[in-house]
Amino acid sequence: MRITCPNCGERDRREFYVKGAALARPDVGAGLDEWHDHLHLRDNPASETKELWYHEMGCGAWIEVCRNTVSHEVVSTRLASGAELGGKR
């Protein structure tokens, strides 16, 4: 699996740390159910999905990666910084 970092180009998967589903964070004051939903519950799709990957051994950017969980194909990537995170939950 190779991932294209928007800053560094196409790189080996070993250079990255993966965080999981790319989710918008609830407000600090959000209630228990909303935080529970954010922290634990997942759509866990068998399809294309958006995830957060960290270019740990490269430029250090957080990247939103659109990846297919069935084929492992990396479909597209963009910098997470400043973007509205819109992954499936």
Binding site: G20, A21, L41, R42, D43, T69, H72
Partner: protein
């Protein structure tokens, strides 16, 4: 048909013509009392115990592929009861006891081999943790022995005791732990369930769960509609998607775990050995192949295959810990889909929807759980009350933060287990 020494002898002398199929291939009935989704180890064991211990006579196990084609036939077959935290501790203790009587129970050779499992430690901190874990295992009523470096060396001479970075200082042994033949476990439970009248329906994918007014009515399948008073999920890596059919979202991410087998070599390793550093577990099968594995690949996946970096990591760790095996060729590798929970521990609970039950979140450790889980899940489905050995496998622990079972103490968060 029962197996016995006489029967084997007789069949051997008469051309093996008297053996009959181990289970029927029934057409799905329009309605059942209980429908179980998933014909893996957990689903089959659940069907078996529902029929045997709770007197259910009208049950179906629906399997989208063939029986035993999922993780039950893809794992590294380690069976043990050396978990540490309350909840897991009593459950795996219960399950190991079930394993010990399983062959007689099922009249089936599951090749249960209590060869002992050793968790090796490499530093003082790990040693302290092993002492603590050993004490808790003894308190739960199971066996644990701390081995010094010399005692371990005598028992398992092939390990590299003098690795510069990760020297082996000793290990924690559980003699009653070991391995079992994975698909024989599926076949044994399948045969036992079938003999008690459970319909095992293969090539039958559940595509929908019918719920009316908060109550389960049945399932939609690739072989038509099946009505059911109770529906029980046992879909392992596909649990998230099965639950989605009931409009539920689970605290589960599916991940791929790989396993490896070397070419057959002469006996070199009598025990199951696992290493803390780099994470590696290895045993030698009866055919002589070394069966081993390491971490998850750590990204969400529904592919029953992994990527090369984890292959490389596993081989490196193997080479470091048992250099003598470096020349053995790798024969096969494969992957299976793990239903990972945030705390790395399972769920056996009511779903909150009347008549719908959950059995999931077995992560990479659900093979050893099969008899205990089937037993406990059947109890829950039949009585609507948790089995005494599985009271802590609750779904609501993630929401409330109470009773989390985070064995690795990394935090109850996805991607950390």
């Amino acid at each position: 048909m029962r197996f016995s020494g006489w029967r084997v002898l007789k069949e051997g002398l008469t051309g093996n013509k008297g053996w009959t199929p181990h289970w029927r291939d029934p057409e799905p009935q329009p309605e059942y009392d209980v429908v179980i989704i998933g014909g893996g180890g957990h689903g089959l064991a659940t069907g078996y115990y529902l029929a045997k211990e709770h007197g259910f006579t009208n049950i179906a196990v629906l399997e989208k592929g063939y029986l035993g084609g999922g993780n039950v036939g893809r794992n590294t077959t380690i069976v043990r009861a050396n978990y540490y935290l309350p909840g897991n501790s009593e459950f795996y203790s219960h399950s190991l006891k079930q394993w010990e009587g399983l062959e007689e129970e099922l009249n089936y050779n599951v090749m249960m081999s209590q060869r002992g499992q050793i968790m090796v430690y490499h530093n003082d901190g790990q040693r302290d943790a092993m002492v603590r874990r050993g004490n808790s295992i003894i308190n739960q009523g199971d066996d644990a022995e701390l081995l010094s470096r010399d005692a371990l060396r005598e028992m398992v001479p092939i390990l590299n005791y003098d690795n510069a970075r990760f020297p082996i200082l000793g290990g924690l042994l559980q003699r009653r732990a070991g391995t079992a033949r994975h698909d024989a476990v599926a076949w044994g439970f399948a045969r036992g369930a079938d003999q008690r009248g459970v319909d095992l329906i293969q090539n039958c994918e559940v595509t929908g769960i019918d719920i009316e007014n908060g109550k389960v009515k049945g399932v939609q399948t690739s072989r038509g509609v099946i009505r059911a008073k109770k529906v029980a999920l046992a879909a392992a890596g596909r649990s998230g998607q099965a639950a989605a059919m009931a409009g539920m979202r689970l605290p589960i991410e599916s991940h791929v775990l790989q396993a490896f087998v070397s070419e057959g070599i002469k006996p070199v390793l009598d025990h199951v050995v696992s290493f803390a550093e780099g994470h590696l577990y290895v045993s030698q099968s009866d055919k002589g192949g070394l069966v081993f594995g390491s971490y998850l690949d750590f990204y969400s996946s529904y592919a029953a295959r992994g990527n090369l970096p984890m292959v490389e990591h596993t081989m490196e760790t193997m080479q470091a810990m048992i250099p003598a095996l470096g020349k053995a060729k790798l024969l096969r590798s494969w992957g299976g889909i793990m239903d990972m929970t945030p705390d790395g521990s399972p769920i056996i609970d009511h779903s909150g929807i009347e008549g719908l039950y959950l059995n999931c979140g077995w992560c990479y450790g659900g093979f050893k759980a099969i008899p205990g889980s089937g037993n406990a899940y059947a109890h829950l489905i039949a009585t609507d009350r948790p089995h005494g050995a599985a009271t802590k496998f609750r779904l609501d622990r993630f929401r409330d933060g109470h009773g989390l079972m985070d064995e690795e103490a990394t935090g109850a968060q996805h991607n950390l287990h």
